[in-house]
C-alpha cells in the first residue's frame, strides 16, 4: 500500500502572505540580472510556505515556453515561468520524492551548461571515434 492510499486527509493550511514576499524577491533578482548580469536563486524548501502558499506562488509565476527534463539520479525538471529568465526547478530522487526546489533567475540555468572538462573529454572521445572510422 502506498502512502497516498491511506485515507488520511490533511488540510492544506492557510495563505500566510509569505509567498507574496518571494514574488518581490524574484522581481529584485530579475532587475539585478538585467542591470548587472547577476541573477540568483531562491530556495523554496527553506521558506515557511504552506502548500497553499506554494500553489499560489506557482500560479502567479505561470508557465513559459521552455521545459527541460533531466534524468540525473532521479527526475529533475527546469521549467521556464511566464517571466523570461525566471525558472522553476524541481529535483526528485529515484523514488520520485521531491528533494529540493528552487526558483532560479538566470538567462540559462547553469545546470544545463556543459562543463569545459566534460567538453574536453567528449572531444577526445569524438576524435577517437573519427579516427576509428577513417
Amino acid at each position: 500500500m502506498a502512502l497516498l492510499d491511506i485515507p488520511v486527509v490533511t488540510e492544506q493550511g492557510p495563505l500566510t502572505g509569505n509567498a507574496r514576499a518571494v514574488l518581490g524577491e524574484v522581481e529584485t533578482l530579475l532587475d539585478s540580472l538585467l542591470r548587472t548580469g547577476d541573477g540568483g536563486i531562491v530556495d523554496i524548501r527553506g521558506l515557511p510556505l504552506t502548500a497553499a502558499d506554494r500553489g499560489w506562488l506557482k500560479a502567479q509565476l505561470g508557465k513559459g515556453e521552455v521545459e527541460i527534463h533531466l534524468d540525473i539520479g532521479g527526475h529533475s525538471s527546469i521549467l521556464e515561468t511566464a517571466y523570461p529568465a525566471v525558472w522553476w526547478i524541481e529535483h526528485r530522487d529515484e523514488g520520485g520524492n521531491l528533494v529540493s526546489e528552487f526558483i532560479q533567475v538566470a538567462y540559462v540555468p547553469e545546470l544545463i551548461s556543459a562543463h569545459p572538462d566534460d567538453v574536453e573529454s567528449g572531444l577526445e572521445h569524438l576524435r577517437n571515434r573519427n579516427a576509428d572510422l577513417s
Binding site: V8, G13, P14, D43, S76, H91, D93, E94, F102, L111
Partner: protein
C-alpha cells in the same frame, strides 16, 4: 587521505557532473545554507581528496548504521560512502578479527592527524569498561587511542552524543558520551535515535568543503539541522496555532491531521530536522505518520517522562506531590491524591491525555 578525487570516484560509479551538482544543491538546501553554497560545495568537493574515515561502534544497537546504509541508493545519504574512504567499520567491513584490527591501525598510521573518527554508541565506564570490549580491549581504551590521531570526531546518534539508552536510569554500565571522555578534539554531536542520515553527509561535506566543522549549538549539534524545533517546522503547526488538537489517536482530529500536542508530542522542545528532511527517502516522518515526536535528539529523552503525556503537564508529578505533602499544603495533598489516581489509571490502561486532564493539572 586517498589519492582519488571525489568527482573522479563518482564518475567511476556512473554519477555525472550534473547529478553531482544536483546533489550539492540539495545538500546546501538541507543545510539551510544560501543557494549559492551548492555551487561552492560542488567545486570544492569535486576536487577534494577522499578523506579517511574510521568508524567505531561501541555500546549501541546498530540502528544508526542501519539508518544510513538502508537509505535508497544512490541518494544524498548513500553518496557519502562514495565520497569517503571508510577504512574501518567492523559491522560493514569484510575483514574480521586480526585482519580488521590490522586495517584499523594501518589507517591510523597512514592518516595520523588527518582522519575523521565517527563513533556510534556510548562508552561504558563501569568495571573498568569491561561491559563492552572489542578485540580484548575496552571501548574506553580504544576510543582514547583512536581519538588521539583524529582531526575531528563525529558522535553519531544519541548514545554517542549523550549516553543515550544505555545511560537510562539506573545506567547499569556507567555509560557516558564521547565528549565526557575526549576533551581535546573538536567533536560534533549528531543525536537522534537513530539520527537523520543526511546530517552526517552534510557535516562531512561541510568539513571537506570549508575545512572546518559547521556552526554548532550549545550541545555540540550542527545548527543547520538542529537550529529549530520540530514544532517550528511542523506542517501541523497551523493547527496548533488554531487550537485544533487530536484527543486520541483515532478521533476525527487525528484523521484530519490536527496537532498531536495533547497526545504527548515533544516537538516544541526537540531540536531536529525530521519535519523538513523526513525519513525513508522523504516518504514521511513520525508526526506525518500520526505519532507525536518522542524527543529522541534531546539528552536523556528516555528518562524525561511518558511519551504520551502532554508537555504542559508536570514531568514528574509524583515527586512534586510528595514535596508539597511534606510542606503540609492542602493543595499539595490534593495534587498527591490526583497523581495517585492518575498513576493507578496509567498502570491499568494505556494513558491518554485529554483536554480535561490538562485543565485539571493547570
Amino acid at each position: 587521505m586517498s589519492d582519488n578525487r571525489i568527482l573522479e570516484t563518482l564518475a567511476g560509479q556512473g554519477i555525472t557532473r550534473r547529478a553531482f551538482l544536483k546533489y550539492c544543491a540539495t545538500l546546501a538546501s538541507l543545510m539551510a545554507l544560501p543557494p549559492s553554497a551548492g555551487k561552492a560545495f560542488a567545486e570544492a568537493l569535486g576536487n577534494a581528496p577522499r578523506p579517511s574515515v574510521i568508524w567505531l561502534p561501541f555500546q549501541e544497537c546498530t540502528g544508526c548504521t542501519e539508518a544510513i546504509t538502508r537509505s535508497h541508493s544512490p541518494s544524498i545519504e548513500g553518496m557519502i560512502f562514495d565520497m569517503i574512504s571508510l577504512d574501518y567499520q567492523e559491522t560493514l567491513m569484510a575483514a574480521a578479527g586480526h585482519q580488521a584490527e590490522a586495517a584499523l591501525h594501518a589507517a591510523m598510521e597512514r592518516n595520523h592527524g588527518k582522519y575523521i573518527l565517527i563513533v556510534d554508541g556510548s562508552v561504558p565506564l563501569g568495571l573498568d569498561g569491561a561491559y563492552s570490549c572489542i578485540a580484548g580491549r575496552s571501548n574506553l581504551e580504544t576510543l582514547k587511542e583512536v581519538a588521539a590521531g583524529a582531526a575531528a570526531i563525529v558522535a553519531m546518534g544519541s548514545c554517542a552524543a549523550y549516553g543515550g539508552l544505555p545511560k537510562a536510569k539506573p545506567n547499569p554500565t556507567g555509560a557516558v558520551a564521547v565528549s565526557d571522555v575526549i576533551k581535546d578534539k573538536p567533536i560534533v554531536n549528531i543525536p537522534g535515535c537513530p539520527p537523520i542520515p543526511v546530517v552526517m553527509t552534510g557535516v562531512l561535506a561541510h568539513y571537506l568543503t570549508f575545512g572546518s566543522l559547521p556552526e554548532l549549538d550549545k550541545l555540540g549539534r550542527p545548527k543547520a539541522f538542529y537550529g529549530e524545533t520540530i514544532h517550528d517546522r511542523c506542517y501541523r503547526r497551523p493547527f496548533y496555532d488554531q487550537g485544533k488538537f487530536a484527543k486520541t489517536f483515532d478521533d476525527e482530529g487525528a484523521r484530519k491531521g490536527w496537532c498531536l500536542f495533547e497526545l504527548g508530542c515533544k516537538g516544541p522542545v526537540t531540536y531536529n530536522a525530521c519535519a523538513s528532511v523526513k525519513w525513508n527517502g522523504g516518504t514521511s516522518w513520525p508526526v506525518e505518520s500520526g505519532h507525536g515526536c518522542l524527543g529522541c535528539s534531546e539528552p536523556d529523552f528516555w528518562d524525561a517522562g511518558s511519551f504520551y503525556k502532554a508537555l504542559s503537564m508536570p514531568a514528574r508529578p509524583l515527586k512534586m506531590a510528595a514535596g508539597a505533602a511534606v510542606a503540609g499544603a492542602v493543595a499539595g495533598v490534593a495534587i498527591a491524591v490526583s497523581n495517585k489516581a492518575r498513576k493507578g489509571a496509567a498502570k491499568t490502561a494505556h494513558e491518554k491525555t485529554t483536554l480535561a486532564d490538562l485543565e485539571k493539572s493547570s
